[in-house]
Symmetry: C2
Subunit: 342 residues, 2 copies
Amino acid sequence: MSTPVQRRRASISDVARLAEVSVGTVSNVLNRPDRVSPATRDRVLGAIEDLAFVPNGSARQLRAGTITTAGAIVLDVANPFFTDVARGIEDRLTQDDFTVMLASSDEDPAREARYLRLFEEHGVQGVMVVPSTSDIEHLLTVRRRGIAVVLLDRPSPVESLSSVAVDDVAGGEMAVQHLLELGHERIAFLNGPHSIRQCADRWTGAVRAVTAAGLDPADALVEVTIPSLNADGGEQGTRELLAMDRVPTATFCINDLTALGALRTLRAEGVSVPHGMAVVGYDDVSFAAELSTPLTSVRQPTHQLGFRAADLLLAPADAPAEQITFQPELVVRTSSTGLDPA
Amino acid sequence: MSTPVQRRRASISDVARLAEVSVGTVSNVLNRPDRVSPATRDRVLGAIEDLAFVPNGSARQLRAGTITTAGAIVLDVANPFFTDVARGIEDRLTQDDFTVMLASSDEDPAREARYLRLFEEHGVQGVMVVPSTSDIEHLLTVRRRGIAVVLLDRPSPVESLSSVAVDDVAGGEMAVQHLLELGHERIAFLNGPHSIRQCADRWTGAVRAVTAAGLDPADALVEVTIPSLNADGGEQGTRELLAMDRVPTATFCINDLTALGALRTLRAEGVSVPHGMAVVGYDDVSFAAELSTPLTSVRQPTHQLGFRAADLLLAPADAPAEQITFQPELVVRTSSTGLDPA
DNA sequence: ACCTCACTGTGAATCGGTTCATATACGATG
DNA sequence: CATCGTATATGAACCGATTCACAGTGAGGT
């Protein structure tokens, strides 16, 4: 015998009928049990049990107007950086009995818009978004409709929007400065499109470091734009790099996944790291220290990032927007210095 | 000036009033534009624009009864194995214009139940679940209420439930058999609780391999139960292992994250891999090949797993349930053989 | 001039809950 | 014994969309 499937979900009035009470009473049992006499309550609970009744969230929400759910849109759920952030979000929201719907935009503005709309239609309390484009007008529109919006991993350009970010200019600067101090004079930057703010900012930081060292960015920095910010992107970028006339001696990667792809390719091509090519990543993901060549990387407070973002989302609607910026930290390992970190 | 926030979301009747038509007409513009004259349609669209109207999903869904959303509950979103699976799910659902809500249960049945209920209340079309306990009665209950349920990474014990899984007994067996062939006679297994099916099955496979080799499992296999299936769990388990009287010569880890923690700890304690301790992981995550000691691991078709699960979820409600099982594959690297995989 | 039919648009019923003004019963109080 | 307050239960209005039976309009056919 296969499991029988119910014809229709039981509704509150089915429960009321079975328990021989009014629908109002059933609703009271659900939401204010103390106002119902124990005898009636038990009868209603029995009926709920018998019918396997699950309240219809849409109906409840339609009447109540709001739900304890928030949405989060990140660029890529397969990137440990974003899942760590998501983890921070979840940890904070759980404290207030909120739940999170997680989605990834794949750096595609259309997908981002689609999820944003889905969340809005379902009446989420707020959304946390890592924007996939520099244009945030659509987010302001959502904000104006009364939905909390927190920019993730990207400072807000306007005061009215809350944001939680890490200083990416500083991060880019410290990474490149580190490579310059090691004597590199021609540094590649495997970067994503500048429409993604993090990419633009880290580039700015890189240029600043080079300029501060008295070098000409046009000569000392080689930007390679990769199609996707993951290991495959890193592989493609690295191949492009190795085919150049004047191959750089160091590579700064927009994130550790990209660096992973770079390391993989360099090894396949027989280029030693860091002597043939120094590599610096970004994010300091959990496995960065355990790679064949432990990876120098820029660490960001991922969990904090998500946690604080959720904090801001839960703030009262009339609280002023807040822009939080964390500072990154360079973690030096073998992939740049050649020294065993030990 | 801060961004003004609207008092109340515009509703379809606000639009109707402004456009001087009935609510039915507005609804038609939204859902069957061809039945409305161009002039009226434009007037309505103008009003929608002016009011920044976004239809209320709850109301729509309440009336329509169903939505194009599915839920997925995995053990841990921070584990690349599950995010790769999630990726497969998303890729399939996107084809049918479905969206996914992703949540992680943290191996906690209470959290799993909470998300399950949340999804159900919101009327998802179906859910894909990696169960955090061997008891799946609650999932059958959900199924009986007419919601599609697909077991993820775990074969269904009953015919009426669809499932997509990998043969974990075979996976456990091939991993341990590999270690036995290398001459190890005392093998540790850093495992999670047997209430998680994958853990129980891989254990069964391990025992089978040992028995087939003519050894006594009670002596040749040392099971260490770790508190969480991640790097921290691997670290704790490894420390426990190293403190034993007869320290095993090889360790089989329940997943690559755990193996990562094991490798980290072994290095910190000065134990060489594989000569002091051979290590085999499970999942073959993206970075397994790039670790300081490239990790021997059992590969699973992650993306396929998610993709097919989503496939089954989208199957017509009256289609028979289906149980799909994939075969795992051992990927041998340095962490067990000591040989450079080249 | 009359009948059909396609095309548009209307407005009320409906989905399943929550909420609140109102009704009833009953013990306590003066 | 009349009055009051408390505890409990009721049922109708409402949230915002979809849907459908029905009505009005005008072109085309006879």
